[in-house]
């Protein structure tokens, strides 16, 4: 059953579309007939049709305003008397553009296009969806720390993560070195704990004991066949990538 939404403000045009839809061979259900930009936006917030027939010039505005406010994932067949919008229509999810008045034959052609689109793109769509989810999980939903809280004596202060050149483990305690030359003792006891809280685009664990920030890299030199030496701005010691991290480090630099 194909769920169809009709967005059309003229009564006869709506009736004609419904008639053509009913005469199709496939099972269809018209889930709503809407005539305004405003009601279409409200409707699409809650419902997911399989196909939209959409007029362009509506009583309260232009239907492209709907699609700019609500991302629609299903295909749209535009129906309009205006021929100047077709470019814009295909920038949206438009798969066809029916110029009024249109014949049954022309309508059938648009419908066939929809069927082809549906049968051929489901796999691709599904994969895209999975990919999008992964990206969201990894980047958008994660709140990386902008500040670390540092406890010193009996007080607490904030340290901005973007000012940190390097985190370093020293005899079981973790220190952060900032660009002003400050050295801060952290409450976290492992680098792994800290790494999880920071954006992996900016920070990288070059070896078991050192986690550095990309912005402060001043110079990279070859140390031997399998590792690199790095000079960091505002930090006097050279640091070195471990053999196992070198290849990943190179990849990270390009991100």
């Amino acid at each position: 059953m194909t769920k169809i939404l009709i967005i059309e403000d003229e009564i006869p045009a709506r009736k004609k579309l419904k008639r053509f839809v009913k005469e199709l061979d496939s099972p269809t259900e018209i889930i709503a007939e809407l005539e305004m930009v405003r009601t279409a936006i409200d409707f699409l917030k809650q419902h997911q049709p399989d196909l939209i027939f959409s007029d362009i010039e509506l009583l309260d505005g232009n239907s492209f305003e709907i699609y700019s406010q609500i991302p629609v994932s299903c295909p749209i067949i535009f129906t309009t008397a205006y021929d100047q919008y077709w470019m814009h229509a295909f920038e949206e999810n438009g798969i066809d553009y029916l110029l009024k008045p249109f014949s049954k034959k022309r309508f059938q052609k648009a419908w066939n296009k929809f069927l082809w689109y549906r049968n051929n793109s489901q796999d691709v769509n599904h994969q895209l969806q999975i990919l999008t989810e992964i990206i969201h999980k990894n980047f958008e939903n994660k709140n990386f720390k902008k500040y670390l809280t540092i406890h010193k004596n009996n007080s607490v202060y904030f340290l901005e993560t973007r000012e940190i050149i390097i985190f370093k483990v020293d005899e079981g305690v973790v220190f952060a070195y900032d660009e002003k030359g400050g050295k801060h003792l952290l409450t976290e006891t492992t680098l792994t704990e800290i790494e999880k809280q920071l954006n992996p685009v900016n920070f990288f664990r070059i070896n078991r004991g050192e986690l550095i920030q990309k912005n402060y890299i001043e110079k990279i030199e070859r140390y031997n066949k399998n590792s690199l030496t790095i000079k960091l701005k505002g930090y006097n010691n050279y640091v070195k990538t471990s053999q196992s991290q070198t290849a990943l480090f190179r990849e990270w630099l390009d991100k």
């Binding site: 045009a13 008397a81 008045p101 249109f102």
Partner: protein, 186 residues
Amino acid sequence: MSESKISQLKTQLNPHFLFNNLNVLDQLIEEDKNTASDFLNEFAEIYRYVLQSTDKELISIEREIDFAQQYFKLIQYKYGNAYQLQIKNKNSMGYIVPMTLQLLLENAVQHNLGTEEDPITIQIKIEENIAIFNNTSLKQIRKPTSGRALNNLNEQYRLLSKKPIQIHQMENEFSVEVPIIYQQNV
């Protein structure tokens, strides 16, 4: 008075009007052949009027009123009772720039959102002037309009009668007053 200037200013019927109405006709043919035939004849008359009026500077108020009523019928085929028209005619002597009322009706529909529950009523009153007014329900999302059509019309009246069009925009009402022209030189 430069005739070429006036012909330049003449408003043209929106070209998509034709295609939209052919689409209406297509549906009416399916529903009821008599209605379809009526619609077709009305539409032909409207088109003939539009074509004829492009050669004319002025037309009698009576003819323009007939035309406005026919034009409005087409709107009602499309939108049902969401828009309504009332005409109060006390003086049908005199002349008017052809397509004046059509333009003002089109404007009223374009700018105001009428629904079956909350219709827009457009009234035309003919006294010393022709006044067209309607209750307003401005569309939330408004198309950027240049107001060129109205300015064009105003310019034609200025050239023909030295009297400008008056436009009043109030909170709940919009009105336009158009002068009646008596000296006939058509």
